[in-house]
């Protein structure tokens, strides 16, 4: 049994030794330092590692600091150190005097010998009461030599000042003395041998108040503090040796003070002002806080696997390390990223639409997840709480890829790049979100991947026109279908696009009222004869109005049999509105007329229309009988009669012939009118006449009618380039110029096109003449055609000019001519005129010689060489005399004119000689 107990004891001792090795404790202390966590061989998921150690010191000393050691760089170093205490741990002796105890709390074992004092209430818990007669405490073990630094601090509460010589502290040989009595004054007095005594003239020694007194020598000065505040300082070097402190009495003559003392501390160093204030603790005294055990935690960023251990130091100045160490490993595994979507090819999406990112992240220490789309990093919320994350992002143009990132707590970052495609990708769609009845609305979509697109507008299918990736359809908004209409595009009849909406509102044209106040049209009336204003009624009127191309229109009928000066019509919405009016109007004493104008565009800039009436006494009824060449009446012929009123061509007659081909108008027989007779299938007939007869017969389709106007009279048309040929692959300016000296041209235009009808360019003007130009690079072959027209008095006249495109060979006569032009433009022979006219003179001289000699020879039959030579000599002489024969530039040795005169003279001589010798 004894053996068993012995064995258990041995095991316990061995266990204690294995966990409490204290490296270099030399003052009898024993210590135990325990590595708490992380556990050995732990794998850290975060590089922010939490380390924890505990230390326990036995033998009296307290812990001053604890440190974390690692060998991250291969060398054991203290990486993190926690200072546990510097104030009390540096004390060489400290007496709390609580509970009638005189123990040195620092654990240094400096005893305090009590002589007669009794336990009393102290500044902290208990203190010692000194009655002033044979009572004090002594520190026999403390030893301070010569000029060494020191600090002595204690609390005292005087019952009375006493008398001179009653010292609070007095060492042997007066080496260090503290007295509350300064030669008659109740001020603290601090004496060190070798230094002038410090008399605290401002440091009144108070009675009945706990006061903290501090005396020190900092190596150069002695200082006296009261309640942490410096009361005086003197320089010097202490002398003498202190072998013991007696507090409460003079060590020599036993003169004692009366009061209580508490919290006595000795330091062999100089406490700082801050430390003194810490001790003072706002008058409450700081409780001794040193401990012989503690647990410390450090957080340290670890970048690689490492060994670690802990160390500690105690108040004796001893330090030690744990004998064992532990290993931590870091996480080197990258987070795993798995993308479920988007990937591969998806059926459909549109730019600006939502796309869903589904991604799974896998890591034990996941820290952050995000994706980069179009250069912007976006955090994936919630990736830390769930392994699978779904987030939406807005699809951007030309951007179907992204990079997804994830990192863990240790800083391991991983990324994956994904891209995806769509079978159908809608880049954009254009339409008006608000429309109106009768408006023409164009719906277009730009979609990649579709070969055909059908527009589903409010449930009805419409085919579209394809141009590249653009699909377009124009619809005329029906009437009566107001509100939101769905817009969906069906892609290849297999995929539907997203749904958008168009709100269709009502279009309205009506007589102005409180609901419709935006005026578009104002109709007033005048007497055709004198232009005086009239009131008129409207027995009936019909207005067909629309916003689009007119295939869908609304009709407004208005009747007012009361005569009014004018009628104002308003419309909504406030945009261009096309109105086709038909108005029957009359006034008292004025027969009814009809105003049947073709559609006019109206806007909120009010259009004022004046309708003319002719009084019963000023007009006559004129009937037009329209017949064909077979003298049969033609029904349905539109008759338009106009005349100049106040300088403006004004419509005064409008009507359509009946089945018998006749139509009757109320006209002024005093003025010339122009009538236009129009019917599809017949040539339009313009007739100018003064309607003095009651009946006129007009033949359509014939050419015998003398009333037809010639609308080509005075019209001048020019097309450029001139001629009918243009060079291939050359930029030409194709012009169509028209002017008129007789008619007023209402409109003219031209279209440049290829022979197959493909239009190159087209333009028109509504001015009275002018030029339309097209700049065009001719094709390699074929032709270029310009169709042009002009309109005078609603009569359309057209024409065509065709240019043949030719290609010049580098060896053709055309090339030669071009070359000549080029050289001439480069001033060949000074032909451009900077040669004082010599070139021109030379040409003239040549012509004169050839023409004159030729004509004389031909006319008079001169066949003799001598005679011809003489003739040439005379001409040359004459030309030279008038300086017509130039001397080329650079020829300086001879005058060419004189030279030629001599040459021709020699030729005469030679010719005469030859004839004479023949």
């Amino acid at each position: 049994m004894k053996r068993l107990f012995f064995l258990v004891a041995c095991i316990m001792i061995l266990g204690l030794v294995s966990s409490s090795v204290w490296g270099s404790i030399g003052s009898g202390d024993d210590a135990e330092i325990v590595l708490n966590f992380p556990i050995d061989n732990n794998i850290e998921l975060s590089n922010n590692v939490l380390f924890n150690c505990s230390a326990n010191i036995t033998g009296g000393a307290i812990i001053t600091n604890m440190s974390l050691f690692t060998n991250e760089s291969g060398i054991w170093e203290a990486k993190n150190t926690t200072i546990l205490d510097t104030l009390f741990s540096n004390a060489i002796a400290y007496y709390q005097l609580d509970g009638n105890s005189f123990v040195d709390t620092t654990g240094n074992g400096n005893t305090l010998v009590n002589t007669g004092t009794t336990n009393s209430t102290g500044i902290l818990i208990d203190g010692r009461d000194l009655s002033g007669s044979g009572q004090w405490v002594t520190t026999p073990d403390l030893h301070i030599d010569g000029a060494s630094e020191r600090t002595i601090n204690f609390w005292i509460n005087l019952d009375n000042i006493g008398q001179d010589g009653d010292d609070v502290m007095h060492t042997a040989s007066d080496v260090m003395v503290l007295s509350p009595y300064d030669f008659g004054a109740t001020n603290w007095r601090y004496v060190i041998n070798g230094i002038t005594p410090i008399s605290g003239s401002d440091a009144t020694a108070d009675v009945g108040v706990w006061t903290m007194i501090t005396m020190n020598y900092n190596g150069t000065h002695a200082n006296l503090f009261r309640n942490g505040v410096n009361m005086g300082s003197n320089a010097g070097t202490p002398s003498g040796v202190i072998t013991a402190f007696r507090i409460g009495a003079n060590v020599a003559d036993v003169t004692e003070i009366d009061g209580q003392i508490d919290e006595i501390g000795f330091w062999n160093s100089t406490l700082t002002d801050a430390e003194l204030l810490e001790l003072y603790n706002s008058g409450n005294s700081l409780k001794f806080s040193g401990s012989n055990s503690g647990t410390q935690t450090w957080t340290r960023i670890i970048s690689e696997s490492t060994l670690w251990a802990c160390g500690a130091c105690d108040s004796d100045g001893d330090c030690g390390l744990t004998a064992t160490n532990r290993t931590i490993y870091v996480d080197t595994t990258l987070p795993q990223i798995t993308v479920q979507s988007p990937s591969g090819t998806t059926d459909y999406n549109y730019i600006g639409g939502n796309e869903t990112l589904n991604v799974t992240f896998d890591d034990n220490g996941l820290d952050m997840c995000w994706y980069n789309y179009n250069g912007t990093n976006i955090t994936i919320d919630g990736c830390l709480t769930g392994t699978s994350n779904s987030t939406n992002f807005t699809l951007e143009s030309d951007n179907t890829n992204m990079t997804i990132y994830s990192n863990d707590s240790f800083g391991n970052e991983n990324s994956t790049f994904i891209n995806w495609t769509y079978t159908y990708l809608e880049n954009n769609r254009t339409y008006n979100t608000t429309s109106y009845e009768t408006a023409g609305e164009t719906f277009s979509i730009n979609v990649e991947g579709a070969s055909s697109v059908t527009l589903l507008y409010n449930g009805t299918s419409y085919t579209t026109t394809k141009s590249g990736n653009d699909f377009t359809r124009t619809l005329q908004m029906p009437i009566g279908k107001l509100g939101n209409h769905k817009i969906i595009f069906s892609l290849d009849e297999t995929q539907s696009s997203y749904t958008s909406y168009q709100n269709v509102l009502e279009v309205m044209f009506t007589l102005c009222n409180s609901n419709y106040t935006t005026k578009f049209l104002n109709i007033s009336f005048k007497d055709e004869t004198n232009s005086s204003a009239l009131t008129a009624s409207i027995p009936t009127s019909t207005f067909n109005y629309y916003l689009g191309d007119g295939t869908v229109y609304k009709t407004y009928t208005y009747i007012n049999n009361t005569e009014n000066t004018n009628y104002e019509f308003c419309a909504s919405p406030n945009r261009i509105l096309y109105v086709d009016p038909y108005i029957q109007y009359k006034s008292s004493g004025y027969p009814q007329r009809i105003y049947d104008q073709s559609a006019v565009s109206l806007s909120n800039t009010i259009t004022n229309t004046i309708l003319y009436l002719l009084s019963s006494v000023d007009g006559i009824y004129v009937t037009f009988q329209v017949i064909n060449l077979a003298e049969q009446g033609i029904g349905g012929v539109t008759i338009l009669g106009t005349r100049l009123i106040e300088g403006v061509t004004t419509t005064v007659a409008q009507g359509i012939t009946g089945a018998d081909g006749s139509s009757t108008f109320w006209l002024n027989p005093d003025f010339a009118h122009i009538f236009t007779f129009t019917k599809t299938g017949y040539s339009t007939l313009n007739k100018s006449l003064t309607p003095t007869q009651s009946t006129y017969t007009v033949t359509l389709g014939g050419s015998t009618d003398v009333g037809v106007d010639d609308y080509s009279q005075g019209i001048s048309i020019t097309t450029i380039p001139e001629g009918t040929n243009v060079l291939y692959n050359t930029s030409y300016l194709f012009n169509y110029t028209i002017s008129s000296s007789f008619w007023t041209i209402d409109e003219f235009g031209a279209t440049l096109k290829y022979p197959n009808g493909t239009i190159i360019n087209s333009s028109s003007l509504t001015t009275n003449g002018g030029t339309i130009s097209f700049n065009f690079m001719t094709p390699l072959n074929g032709s270029v055609v310009m169709d042009y027209y002009y309109i005078v008095n609603s009569t359309y006249t057209n024409g065509t000019t065709t240019w043949k495109v030719y290609k010049s060979s580098d060896y053709s006569i055309s090339y030669l001519l071009n070359h000549i032009t080029t050289y001439v433009n480069a001033n060949l022979f000074g032909i451009l005129g900077d040669d004082d006219g010599y070139f021109a003179k030379a040409i003239i001289s040549l012509l004169l010689i050839i023409m004159f000699s030729g004509m004389i020879s031909y006319r008079y039959g001169l066949a003799s060489e001598s005679a011809v030579s003489a003739l040439i000599f005379g001409i040359v002489f004459f030309l030279n005399y008038f300086n017509f024969i130039p001397t080329p530039e650079g020829v300086t040795f001879v005058n060419v004119g004189d030279f030629l005169v001599m040459i021709t003279a020699l030729l005469i001589i030679a010719a005469i000689f030859r004839e004479e010798t023949r």
């Binding site: 060896y811 090339y815 030669l816 070359h819 000549i820 433009n825 060949l828």
Partner: protein, 81 residues
């Protein structure tokens, strides 16, 4: 050979000569290009003499064609007489 046969023969010979002449054009074209390069005809700053030479060179092909056309017409006309 009667008159008709002579006419057909003359036309045939004329066409043959004309075709042979046209077939020679590519060879002449190379020489024309060489001459143009030598005279720097595309440069408008050359001397007036060179410009005249260039123009005469440009006339070569038209003259050549005119020559063979004249021959053709000459043979045709001669055969008709």
């Amino acid at each position: 050979m009667n008159k008709r046969g002579s006419m057909i023969f003359g036309i045939t010979i004329g066409i043959f000569i004309y075709i042979m002449g046209v077939l020679m054009l590519p060879f002449i074209i190379d020489d024309i290009d060489t001459a143009r390069d030598a005279f720097s005809c595309s440069d408008t700053t050359i001397t007036d003499g060179n410009k005249i030479n260039c123009l005469i060179t440009d006339l070569t092909i038209p003259y050549f064609i005119l020559f063979f056309v004249s021959l053709l017409l000459g043979f045709v006309a001669g055969s008709i007489k």
